[in-house]
């Protein structure tokens, strides 16, 4: 039985009009808001210390004098300076990765497009590593001017370079070849990894430690300054993405038909490419190689609410944020008191998931 057949009957029941899934999509958005609030509260309240979100709430609600008594100084630091930035960064990274994935899939008209799979993350990684390794020497002027934004902007530039190249190579006369896209992604990714390797080769010990930590994919290094560095970029991506939704829907019918429907296709493509690069760049800059969020989240949501980007994009942001917080909670507890890099977790779960999609869609992929 196909995926579609499983979904179809439920579709008929939920909306009054057959084939209209917007009512269900709105319900899902509401539910995902609740899920995100719960996972965020859990993320703030759980951990090696027993400082809890409940205590934080009490601290806020009670008058100043009483609040001090509820929350010790140590707990304050744990909650406000360790857990909160980590939770906020997890939400930003998860939302950015999921939305970037969904937009890229719409742009390439293919559910298998994902920034991590087609080398955009590798390009962003190259940008980030350049700043980590060369930030004190060759790129010193850049880091001096841009400050904390140097890392995410460099990652954005790297991701943008890859996305643009990929689009040029894989698209001919408005048709994107899936096979070319995936293969070009491998080639471009390999080049980015090679350059990254070269940078690691010349890195010193401290930089090497920074890099290793970063490359495994982790939220462990979260600080407020990192949150402030990528927050504006991610918020901008999330704010702009809804404006692409209708255009991306039309793009599913092909570029020519989208234009016939009144979509300014060239502008849409340019904005989408910028968005994917910025979202991926921001996420990669602070959290390293967290793969598969961009493909798993939109795919699950399409099964649930359909491919309408007007609902898919906000849902992807919410589910991506929640999923990353859940993964982070697992990575913190599964080998406690040590921490598993979250990238290992998402790859371990996302890899088989990707294979599963491939198996189900083998016919459509048409390599």
């Amino acid at each position: 039985m196909s995926i579609q057949s499983v979904v179809a009957p439920a579709t008929m029941h939920s909306g009054q009009i057959a084939g209209d899934r917007s009512g269900r999509a709105r319900l899902v958005i509401g539910a995902l808001c609740v899920v995100l609030a719960l996972t965020a509260a859990f993320g703030v309240s759980s951990g090696a210390s027993d400082a809890s979100a409940f205590a934080v709430l009490k601290g806020w609600l009670l008058p100043a004098g009483a609040g001090e008594a509820v929350l010790s100084e140590r707990d304050r630091i744990i909650i406000y300076d360790i857990r909160m930035p980590r939770v906020v960064m997890g939400m930003l990274v998860g939302a950015a990765l999921a939305v970037s994935g969904a937009v890229m899939q719409g742009l390439f008209r293919n559910p298998l497009a994902d920034p991590a799979i087609v080398g955009v993350s590798a390009g962003a990684g190259l940008g980030a590593v350049s700043v980590i390794v060369l930030g004190g020497t060759l790129l010193a002027p850049l880091t001096a001017v841009l400050g904390i934004y140097a890392l995410p902007l460099a990652a954005f530039a790297g991701g943008l370079a890859v996305t643009l190249t990929l689009y040029r190579v894989a698209t001919r006369r408005g048709q994107t070849s899936i096979a070319t896209m995936l293969l070009a992604g491998i080639a471009i990714g390999a080049m980015a990894v090679a350059l990254t390797g070269l940078l690691i080769f010349v890195a010193d010990d401290r930089q090497l430690r920074d890099f290793t930590f970063w490359s495994l994919g982790s939220l462990a290094g979260a600080t407020w300054s990192k949150v402030f560095a990528v927050g504006p970029i991610v918020v901008a991506v999330l704010a702009v993405s809804p404006f692409l939704a209708r255009g991306l829907n039309a793009m599913a019918l092909g570029e020519a038909t989208a234009a016939h429907l009144g979509v300014p296709v060239q502008r849409l493509k340019h904005v989408a490419i910028l968005l994917v690069s910025a979202g991926t760049g921001a996420a990669v800059a602070v959290s390293g190689g967290i793969a598969f969020v961009g493909i798993v989240v939109p795919h699950l949501l399409r099964l649930l609410i359909g491919p309408d980007n007007r609902y898919l994009l906000p849902c992807a942001a919410l589910l991506g944020a929640s999923l990353l917080l859940i993964a982070d909670a697992v990575s913190r507890t599964i080998v406690a008191p040590a921490e598993l890099p979250i990238g290992i977790l998402t790859a371990a779960a996302g890899g088989p998931f990707f294979l599963w999609i491939l198996l189900r869609r083998r016919g459509i992929l048409d390599l």
């Binding site: 579609q4 179809a8 579709t11 038909t257 016939h260 009144g262 359909g306």
Partner: protein, 265 residues
């Protein structure tokens, strides 16, 4: 009114369409016929603004190349030969994409259920909840026509006619649905809109088209009413095929038969 004067279109270095003069009026079905590779689709893609062209093409007096996509979308809708969909949209969701420009011109009361009405028109009543990708080629083609109809539902908007461009609208359809679709086109024209359709079936062309343009080697070989254009020597020459054109006794509608069949009658 659609007017094209001395239009040329090249793809890469190849000149596909050369020196074409063409007009299509509101209130009429204008058919473009011609053998495979004669440049019909390429010319249509110039008319719809998909391809750059030399010369002039105007829609209601506006140069096609100078129109921005939203303006053009309010003036005409385009049915391509076939449409592959990359995500599991329902039929209703596909049809509703036709409404995204907000210029359907439907009355306030009609607008809400327009996708259902359009689907009923193309004989797909009750298909709204089905998945597009699970339909047959002919059904998909009719879904796309329903989407196209939603886009320019009112044939005349704000006193100006609107146009349907149909690239082989019936080639994947059974005979009943060929007639259903051609009746929709005729109705659209009768109510003041314009229809330009690439057709392969010369008999369907003779029955439905008000005017016919015959393309051959990237040029217009003949243009006029079906009765003027569909005659033995021209058709046989353009299609490089032994054909016999007769005329139906009632109404004087021409019909085309292979010579081998006609000889036996």
């Amino acid at each position: 009114m659609i007017e094209a004067s001395t239009v040329g279109v090249s793809i890469g270095d190849r000149r596909i369409v050369e020196d074409v003069v063409f007009t299509a009026s509101a209130g009429e079905i204008t058919a473009i016929v011609g053998p495979n590779g004669s440049g019909k689709t390429t010319f249509l893609r110039a008319l719809t603004g998909d391809l750059p062209y030399r010369g002039r093409i105007t829609l209601n007096g506006r140069e096609v190349a100078a129109m921005r996509p939203p303006e053009a979308a309010g003036m005409r809708a385009v049915l391509p030969q076939a449409t592959q969909l990359s995500f599991p949209f329902t039929v209703r969701e596909v049809v509703k994409l036709g409404l995204m420009g907000g210029r359907s011109g439907a009355l306030a009361g009609e607008a809400e259920r327009l996708p259902e009405r359009a689907l009923a028109k193309v004989d797909l009543d009750g298909f709204g909840g089905r998945f597009y990708q699970e339909l047959s080629g002919g059904e998909q083609q009719r879904v796309q026509l329903a989407r196209v109809l939603c886009q320019v539902w009112a044939p005349v908007l704000e006193g100006r006619p609107r146009y349907l461009f149909l690239d082989e609208p019936v080639s994947s359809l059974d005979i009943k649905h060929q007639l259903v679709i051609m009746d929709i086109a005729r109705d659209y024209a009768r109510r003041g809109g314009g229809v330009v359709a690439i057709l392969h079936d010369l008999n369907l062309t003779a029955m439905y088209a008000d005017r016919v343009a015959v393309m051959s080697h990237g040029r217009i070989a003949a243009a006029g009413t079906p009765r003027d254009v569909l005659e033995d020597r021209l058709i046989a020459k353009v299609f490089d095929c032994e054909l016999k054109v007769g005329v139906l006794p009632a109404g004087g509608v021409p019909f085309v038969l292979p010579q081998s069949v006609a000889a036996r009658l």
